[in-house]
């Protein structure tokens, strides 16, 4: 008899666990106070940001420390167009995305010829340059004074009147982002990205235009980041350079690895965990950061593939082979 190894296909609940967690958290937000709505709203925004980053880092296996640059482009684009020029939020949102995508294309053309640490450093520099511009170009960004009075998300004369409506919109946009991610991952394009992540020379040998696919993944990640930046501006009504600083990079990396890099729901689960966990620990005051860090370490030890893969830890493991008198493993003997 061959022992049976259970898979996630056998137990669909395991694959659906992260989906249920995400939807449960969003539903919980809709029945909660403004404080919880705010935290979950930020989680949705970061979830969108990390879903985009997952294209480049998870599916394609590249490193980017500069996605905050595109979030800043989206955020400032929206703030300037809506706040100063009274554009419709949807139009500003789309124009900012197009602009961020264009910048990503132009920057990516030379930058993505680099690999490994060099690519990481180049993208990090991109983030730093954008951050410095947002501080120093006072006439446009108002530096550390920031831009306030950014209207809530809306279309034409319809404006999302309160935080819960905003949370519904953020959740729908996040789900749209995940849906696009799933569709692209399972397409020919997604398989090419995964081939590149496995081995660039092998992918090239299979006829995949590595440079073109890497650039496409980078641009897609930038579009998601820009959308997240715009949504942040609408959700808070204010932006300043600190919002899109190095802390954003560190936080998004934590979300990605904690949630499960390369998985569909991992970025969302990671964003929820990274933003909600400190709030649950807020009562610990000075010990909050210590306990939070310990919790993160524990999670990474016990769930090294990320929280999205947590369900697989409950999977029934194949029993260790029992040696037979002849020395051959028992499970290898079939009837």
């Amino acid at each position: 008899m061959i022992s049976r190894v259970s898979t996630s296909t056998d137990r669909p609940w395991r694959a659906l666990l992260p989906v249920a967690v995400v939807l449960g958290v969003m539903a919980f937000g809709l029945t909660s106070s403004g404080y919880v709505v705010t935290v979950i709203g930020f989680a949705a925004i970061y979830g969108i940001f990390c879903t985009g980053l997952n294209f480049f880092m998870g599916y394609t296996g590249q490193a980017s420390f500069g996605q905050n640059a595109f979030a800043a482009l989206g955020g400032y684009g929206t703030a300037i167009l809506c706040g100063n020029h009274y554009w419709d939020p949807l139009a500003a949102f789309l124009v900012s995305m197009v602009f961020a995508g264009l910048v990503a294309y132009l920057v990516g053309l030379p930058t993505l010829k680099l690999r490994g640490h060099y690519l990481a450093m180049a993208t990090f520099a991109l983030g730093l340059i954008t951050y410095e511009i947002s501080i120093e170009w006072n006439g446009l960004t108002q530096g550390y004074m920031g831009i306030s009075g950014i209207p809530p998300l809306g279309v034409w004369k319809f404006e999302l009147a309160n935080e819960k409506q905003m949370l519904v919109a953020l959740t729908l946009l996040m789900l749209l982002g995940v849906w696009i991610s799933v569709r692209l991952r399972d397409s020919r394009f997604g398989r090419a990205l995964r081939a590149i992540a496995g081995s660039e020379p092998a992918a090239r040998a299979l006829g995949i235009d590595v440079a073109r696919y890497k650039l496409a993944a980078f641009v897609i990640a930038a579009l998601y980041a820009s959308a997240a930046g715009s949504l942040f501006a609408h959700f808070v009504g204010f932006i300043s350079p600190e919002v899109f600083g190095a802390a954003m990079v560190i936080q998004s990396f934590t979300m990605l690895f904690l949630g499960g890099i390369g998985t569909t729901w991992g970025p969302i689960v990671g964003a929820i965990m990274v933003l909600m966990l400190p709030e649950f620990l807020r009562g610990l005051k000075e010990l909050q950061d210590v306990v939070y860090s310990m919790a993160l370490i524990a999670l990474l030890i016990f769930a090294p593939k990320g929280l999205a893969g947590l369900g697989s830890l409950f999977a029934r493991r194949p029993k260790a082979p029992v040696p037979t008198p002849s020395g051959a493993p028992a499970r290898a003997i079939a009837k």
Partner: protein, 380 residues
């Protein structure tokens, strides 16, 4: 087995997470504060908080406000706007605070201002006022206007030195930017020529280039805008460059960096000081009495710790308490209205004159120019 056990622990921990902050019956008057207890504003905001808590202890010892004890809820915003939005929302929806008395992180207060005014909660701030008029309606600032710092520095330089060409160094924070604009605008009328305007980041470890440019342009004094260790860095760079006649005039700041810079440059280093930072400069009268009340409580608890930001925190609570008593109500809009109708209040830091059109309470320049002499701060 280990993985399963770990997974079970994680799952149990996740399931046990239930947001705290259950709403209780409001038996206290709640003052909320979003504070930069970590991050760049930590030095000033920790002292601001400590001054506030001393004032609350004193009021509660006398029976509280209109029969209710004051409860203080301070939350760390990590000196970042996003975190500030979260803690403001927590204090509004979970803690149900009656009023805010938040710290000096301007961007954090600006980011949360929209939500705060929608809940009709007044704010008494350590920072400058938020930019939009509808937000300013609910905000009141304890911080002196930037022009007062410039008037004190220009006044001393003109009366006591031959220097007429100056260089400006500022960091990118909102308060420093405002002060830089005032400095450039008023220089000519004050009899000075600005030969260079240089910027720096608060965590820069060397500013020799900026100082060298000011010196090369003929500047005899550096007017520095910005707080913290950068002042010590500038003082050390001036000494390292051998600029033996260059004067350095620093901003309002905590005593620690001011003392360190004074030890490097001696009396060529001067700073803008509120009288409470140099108590010997306070004349007898109402000001002396108010400052002594605060300083007695402050020194009893914190010894020689610099009282500058603590005095402002103390005064913020005094202003709020006076407004609540005037309004005879804890209601947000009523307290806001009362803040506009307050009689002049002599605080430990300065005198406050809030009106309907004046939400920056300090209208008379409280500053003196200080120097480190014999290990102590004294008036130059």
């Amino acid at each position: 087995m280990t993985s399963r056990l770990g997974a079970a622990v994680i799952a149990a921990a996740l399931l046990s997470f239930v947001p705290g902050g259950a709403v209780q019956a409001q038996e206290t008057y709640k003052i909320g504060a979003a504070l930069g207890l970590t991050g760049y504003a930590a030095a000033s905001d920790r002292a601001w908080r400590d001054g506030q808590m001393l004032a609350i202890e004193a009021i509660n010892a006398k029976g509280g406000l209109l029969g209710k004890k004051i409860e203080y809820i301070g939350e760390d915003n990590r000196s970042e706007p996003q975190e500030a939005v979260v803690v403001y929302r927590k204090m509004m929806s979970n803690d149900k605070v009656n009023i805010f008395a938040s710290g000096c992180v301007s961007a954090g207060n600006f980011a949360a201002a929209g939500a705060v005014i929608r809940s009709e909660t007044p704010m008494v701030l350590c920072s400058i006022l938020p930019p939009r008029p509808e937000e300013q309606k609910w905000a009141f600032s304890i911080l002196p206007p930037p022009r007062f710092e410039m008037e004190a520095r220009y006044g001393w330089l003109k009366a006591n030195s031959q220097v007429r060409k100056i260089g400006i160094m500022h960091d990118p924070t909102p308060y420093a930017q405002l002060m830089k604009d005032v400095a450039v605008k008023t220089a000519q009328d004050s009899g000075f020529e600005v030969v260079a305007v240089e910027t720096y980041k608060p965590d820069d470890v060397d500013m020799s280039v900026q100082i060298g440019r000011i010196n090369a342009a003929g500047g005899g004094a550096i007017i520095k805008m910005g707080q913290g260790g950068s002042t010590v860095t500038v003082a050390k760079n001036i000494k390292q460059l051998g600029l033996d006649t260059m004067i350095l005039m620093a901003s309002l700041d905590d005593g620690v960096p001011l003392k360190a810079a004074g030890e490097v440059l001696g009396e060529r280093f001067m700073f803008v000081a509120p009288p409470v930072q140099i108590p010997s400069s306070i004349p007898d009268g109402a000001f002396r009495k108010a400052a002594d009340t605060f300083l007695t409580a402050w020194r009893e608890k914190y010894g020689d710790r610099d009282p500058n930001a603590g005095a402002r925190g103390w005064d913020s609570i005094t202003v709020i308490a006076t407004a609540v008593e005037l309004a005879k109500s804890y209601n947000g809009p009523a307290v806001r209205d009362a803040l506009e109708k307050l009689p002049p209040i002599q605080g430990a830091f300065a005198k406050f004159n809030f009106t309907a059109t004046q939400h920056v309470g300090i209208t008379e320049n409280p500053y003196v120019v200080g120097v480190l002499r014999d290990g102590r701060f004294q008036v130059k």
